[in-house]
C-alpha cells in the first residue's frame, strides 16, 4: 500500500493521477502545509523533511520517497505492469530518466527564474532559460504525442500538469503543440478518476 501525503490543489494532486494510471493500491493522507502567503502550517504528520507535499510512504518496507521525479520513478519501477515507465534495459530508459532529471533540474528552475525575473547565468547554472528550453520541448512533442514518442509515461504526468498550470499565466508562451499535448494527457480516464478523489 502506498500512502500519498497530499494537500488538495497542490503539487501532490498529480500523484493521484499517477497512482490511478498505475492501478496501484493507495490511500491519501491529507496534510496541511505552509503556503507562500504565510497561511497554513507544516503538519507534524507529514514525513517530508521540509514539510512539503508530495511525499509517499511504501508500507511494504516503511520507506518514504519525496521530490516529484523520484516519486514518479520509484512508483513506475515498483508497478511496472501499467507500462508507463520504461524498464531497465528498455531502449527508452535513458530518455525517460533524462526527462525526469530535466524536469527537476532544468524545466522547473527555468520557469522559476522567469517568475523571479532573473537572468539565467550561462555556464554556472545547471539550467537554461525558458526561451532556450521551449524549442526543444516543442520539437520533441511535434514528433510524437508524448515525450517518449508513442507511449505515455510518468514523465508526461509532470510536464503536462505543469504546462496546464502555467496555461493562464504570463510566463506561458502560446503553442498549439503544447496545448494539444496538455489536452491529450488530461483527457486520459485516469486523470478524471484522480480529479474525483482530489479532496481525499
Amino acid at each position: 500500500m502506498i500512502t500519498l501525503y497530499h494537500r488538495p490543489r497542490t503539487r501532490s494532486s498529480r500523484f493521484i493521477w499517477l497512482l490511478e494510471e498505475l492501478g496501484a493500491p493507495y490511500e491519501l493522507k491529507l496534510v496541511t502545509t505552509l503556503t507562500p502567503d504565510g497561511s497554513g502550517a507544516s503538519d507534524p504528520a507529514n514525513p517530508h523533511p521540509h514539510g512539503k507535499v508530495p511525499a509517499i510512504k511504501d508500507s511494504d518496507d516503511g520507506t518514504m520517497v519525496f521530490e516529484s521525479p523520484a516519486i514518479v520513478l520509484y512508483l513506475t519501477d515498483k508497478f511496472p505492469t501499467a507500462g508507463i515507465g520504461p524498464a531497465i534495459g528498455d531502449k527508452d530508459r535513458g530518455a525517460y530518466l533524462s526527462w525526469l532529471a530535466y524536469y527537476t533540474g532544468v524545466f522547473e528552475p527555468g520557469f522559476m527564474s522567469k517568475f523571479m525575473n532573473v537572468e539565467v547565468p550561462v555556464g554556472s547554472a545547471g539550467w537554461v532559460s525558458v526561451e532556450k528550453m521551449m524549442p526543444f520541448i516543442i520539437e520533441t512533442l511535434s514528433r510524437g504525442p508524448y515525450l517518449l514518442g508513442e507511449k505515455f509515461s510518468g514523465a508526461d504526468v509532470l510536464f503536462a500538469t505543469t504546462f496546464a498550470l502555467f496555461a493562464n499565466t504570463p510566463v506561458a508562451q502560446k503553442s498549439p503543440v503544447i496545448e494539444g499535448y496538455v489536452k491529450r494527457a488530461l483527457d486520459r480516464p485516469a486523470y478524471a478518476r484522480a480529479q474525483a478523489r482530489e479532496d481525499g
Binding site: 523533511p49 521540509h50 511504501d58 518496507d61 520507506t63 518514504m64 520517497v65 519525496f66 521530490e67 516529484s68 521525479p69 523520484a70 516519486i71 520513478l73 520509484y74 519501477d77 515498483k78 531497465i88 534495459g89 531502449k91 530508459r93 535513458g94 530518455a95 530518466l97 533524462s98 526527462w99 525526469l100 532529471a101 530535466y102 527537476t104 533540474g105 532544468v106 522547473e108 528552475p109 522559476m112 517568475f115 523571479m116 532573473v118 547565468p121 550561462v122 555556464g123 554556472s124 547554472a125 545547471g126 539550467w127 537554461v128 532556450k132 528550453m133 526543444f136
Partner: protein, 201 residues
Amino acid sequence: MITLYHAPRSRSSSMVWLLEELGVPYRIELVPIIYGNGEGTPAPESYRAIHPHKKVPAIDDAGKIAFECAGIAQYLCDAYPDAGLAPRIGAPERAAYDTLLAYWAGVINPIATARFRGWDKDGPTGFGTFEDMEAFLSAKVAAASPFILGAHFTAADVLYGGAVEFFTGAGLLPKRDAYEAYASRLNARPARQRALEKDNG
C-alpha cells in the same frame, strides 16, 4: 561502448568519476563549452543532437542517449549493476536513493545557484530556503557511515561528494567537520584519483 561527452573542470567531471567507479569500458569525447567565467567556446551545432542545450555531461550508450547528471547516474548504475552502485529496484534503500538523486538535482543545485547569484538576499526564493537545504544536507553527510546510504558506496556519493566539495570550496556551504571528513573519505578512493587524472581527456 559508452561515450561520455565531457569538458574538463565542469559538471561532467563527476561523471568521469562515476564511470571509473563503474569499471565499464568508456571513451571520453571532449566538447567545448562556455564556462561560468565566460571563457571557452560554444559546442558545434551538430552536438545539439546529443544534448538539446549543448551542455555537458551527456552519454551515448550504444545509441541510447542520456543527459543531466542525475539521469545519467541513474541510467548507468541500473544498466551496469555489477559494480553495485545503485540499490536494486525493490531493495529497501531504493527509496532513499531515488529521493537523494532527485533532491540533488531539484533542490541542492538551484538553491546553491540562487545563493551564489544573491537572488535570495531579500528572502527565500521559490527554490526553497538555503537553511532547510543545508540542514538536510549536513544531517545526511554527518550520518554517512561511511557513505550516504550506509555501508555501500553509491552514485549518490558521487553527486553529494561533488556538491560538498564544490560548494564548500566556493564558500557557499559553511565549514563543517562532517563535510570535510566525507570529502576526504571520497577523495581517497582510487577511482576518484583516476578520474582526476583523466579529467583533461
